[in-house]
Assembly symmetry: C2
Amino acid sequence: MNDCWMITFLYYGCRTRGEHMRITKEHDVRRNEILDTAEMLFETKGYSNTTVNDILREVNIAKGTFYYYFKSKEEVLDAVIERHLEKGLERAEAVKKRKDLSPAEKLTQVVLVLRMAGPKSEVVDELHKPENALMHQKSLGGIIRGLVPILNEIVEEGIRAGVFSTPFPEQTVRIMLAAALTLTDDAMFSYTQEERQQLLEAIVYSLETLLGAERGSLGLKTHLLQGERGEEEKA
Amino acid sequence: MNDCWMITFLYYGCRTRGEHMRITKEHDVRRNEILDTAEMLFETKGYSNTTVNDILREVNIAKGTFYYYFKSKEEVLDAVIERHLEKGLERAEAVKKRKDLSPAEKLTQVVLVLRMAGPKSEVVDELHKPENALMHQKSLGGIIRGLVPILNEIVEEGIRAGVFSTPFPEQTVRIMLAAALTLTDDAMFSYTQEERQQLLEAIVYSLETLLGAERGSLGLKTHLLQGERGEEEKA
DNA sequence: TCACGACCGACCGACCGTCGGTCGAACTAT
DNA sequence: ATAGTTCGACCGACGGTCGGTCGGTCGTGA
């Protein structure tokens, strides 16, 4: 075994570049390496601007290896989004179950928690629209499909508690979520600070209205929605 | 001069295919040919599935000609969307100016009018999400940017007339428009007939609520919103 | 009046670099 | 041995470029 290592090492030493190292890893480890790298690159350079070769170079694997784990570049996108989504949904679910929060507080808390590690948050991606259209559309769809049931349960709880009131709980949630996600997508619209503030106010106000909630019971901390970005780096 | 024509004609006649004809046209004529063809193909096969070569073949021009008129495939997309948008906004504007309609009626009329020639309506495009993400994102953004001011004026008129009432007229319009467009995008979500009906009801209901409009003053004809395929059963 | 040649916008299509994806050989661990 | 991995040469399609062609027009001089 050690012999093998020596041989490999010497061979590698002969090459001036770091090429041609054959490194075997556990399935999930390798898969996650690819996913992590892809995620980083997608957020940094945009999806369509990220080449499969870019990922290859970064992960230090060959084309074949990549396609051994994923059948297409788009499948990687799906997986990246899926992972993000799961994490977010878990957190939302956790908030839903908390006993120390009122339904209204849960609603704002879910939003807060999702914003912290939402589909975006990185620094240098001022590259907008075209290169990420697919990515945005897919996450939007996923978030709505996944989050609506959770939020709906919270709303129904609120209705039972008498603090909310609406004939269309689920659809209301769907509508306001879709609007909020679409309109706050920096890739699609750009606002001044005031415009943004006004939009968020209006969203909170509308949600309160549609849910028949007491004025001010949601939001209030809307200013938190725009600042703050969660940083998470690793090596 | 006529000689030249003869030569060209004979040369053409020698070829079995319609190749190698040099046909000169006025700038705008040619440009619109390209645009028309591109629009058709984008709607038929989807944007990313449509090749520049597809367009070339259909219009019967060479690569160079295409790039003489447009600097990229995406620029054609923009132009196509722009054209659509202009047409739609004109119609909306026309509705806004009508004196024979109440503000509420204008609102529903605008929606109706846009649905008729909206970004979708064609026949065989069951090809969904990925190939049209860019197209959808771009039209969504354009429609919202263009339509919000018009709808807002209608709403403000309604407020002045005392039939609407809201502290955030423009933002309300923006929110509901974004939600409606996003959620009714077949490329992103698929509903059963009942789900769709319920969603549309909820949208109308929500809009009435947010605008402080009389219940039933908007919508009522929501069933028209889903027809558009020539299949109208229940009323 | 006409001929001619310079000019120019429209047009052509071979060619190019890049990219997503394939394939079969080769390596590793068991 | 063999199943699970990894490799990288290779492929075809695609968006885009480039040097050059064609034919109409217009100014000029015979």
